[in-house]
Point group: C2
Chain length 141, copies 2
DNA sequence: ACTTGAAATGCAAATAATTTGCATTTAGGA
DNA sequence: TCCTAAATGCAAATTATTTGCATTTCAAGT
C-alpha cells in the first residue's frame, strides 16, 4: 500500500513518524500496544517522542486508518486497517497475529435489536484463539 | 441475588469489600471502570484501598463473576455477570446502562473458523449505541 | 466458642501509562 | 519561495496499575 497517498487521502500530513507507525504495524501483522509501537518506531526513527505516538494513534484511529482491539488485557492494541470494508478480527494468543473475519454479527441481529429497542451505532467483535501455525506447537498455555 | 452465597460457591471468602463491589455494580446497572468502582465502594465502605479493588476485579473476573467491556476507550469497564449463561452486551452511549444480548456470533461462524484454520478460545462482542430511553433525548452527540 | 492457617486487606511506595502546555519545526498550499 | 496550520519534541503533570510486607479477618475444624 502507498502510505503517503493514503495519509493524504485522509487529510493528514505525511510525516516520517506517521509513515514509521504504519510501516511498523504493517510489518508486524499483529496488533501492538502503544508502547510496542513506540519501541519499534524508535528503531527506524530514533527521535520520536511518546506523545507523538499517542497523538497519532488517536488521530489515525479517528480517521479509520487504525483499528483497535482491547479486552480484559487492560491495554488496547492497534493494527493497521488493511481492508477498506468493515470487518472484525481473529487474534492469535500464540503469535499475536491477527486475521480478518468477514462475518459480521450485526447483519444478523435485526430482530433482537428491534425487540430491545436499541439503536446500534458501533460494535466490536473479536475472537481470540490459535492460528493454524500455533495450534499444534506448544504455545498454548 | 444472594451475593454471599454466590461468593462462597465460587470459592471466595465473603468480605465486606467484595460485597460492596458487587452491590455497587448491581445498583449501577452500567459497566464501571476500576476508578468508578473504587469511588462508589468508598461511599459505602470508606476504608477500602484501591489495591483491594484491583485485586478483586482480577479475581472476580477470573471466577466469572464480572464481565469486561473495553475498546478504544482505553480503560476497561466491568459489570456484574448477571446471567449464568454466556452472553454479550449492548452498551448505551447515553446513560451507560448495559443490556444483555442473547445472540452469540460464535454459533454461526463454524464455516469461516474452519476455512481459516483458527481454533477459537474466547471472544468478545459488544454493541454500542442508544437504548430506548436515550434514543429520543438530546443525549446523542 | 476457640484456634489456626490461608486468604484478604491496607498502606506506602514503585512502576507504568497517558495527557498537556508550550516553544519549535515542518508539510504543503498560495 | 512564503506563510500558516498542523505536527513534533520536550518536560512535567496526571492518572492508572502493581507490588512487598505487616496486619487483619474468614471459615474450617476442633
Amino acid at each position: 500500500m502507498d502510505f503517503e497517498e493514503f495519509l493524504r487521502k485522509k487529510g493528514l500530513k505525511v510525516t516520517n513518524q506517521r509513515l514509521a507507525i504504519m510501516k511498523v504495524l504493517e510489518n508486524s501483522g499483529s496488533m501492538l500496544t502503544a508502547t510496542e509501537i513506540f519501541e519499534r518506531v524508535k528503531e527506524i526513527f530514533p527521535g520520536v517522542n511518546f506523545s507523538t505516538i499517542y497523538r497519532n494513534i488517536e488521530l489515525m484511529k479517528k480517521k479509520g486508518i487504525l483499528c483497535t482491539v482491547a479486552r480484559g488485557e487492560r491495554i488496547p492494541s492497534y493494527g493497521l486497517r488493511v481492508e477498506e470494508e468493515h470487518h472484525h478480527h481473529f487474534v492469535c494468543k500464540g503469535c499475536g497475529k491477527s486475521l480478518v473475519i468477514e462475518y459480521c454479527p450485526m447483519n444478523f441481529m435485526g430482530e433482537e435489536v428491534k425487540k430491545k429497542g436499541f439503536l446500534p451505532v458501533e460494535h466490536e467483535f473479536v475472537v481470540y484463539g490459535f492460528c493454524r501455525d500455533c495450534e499444534g506447537s506448544g504455545l498454548k498455555k
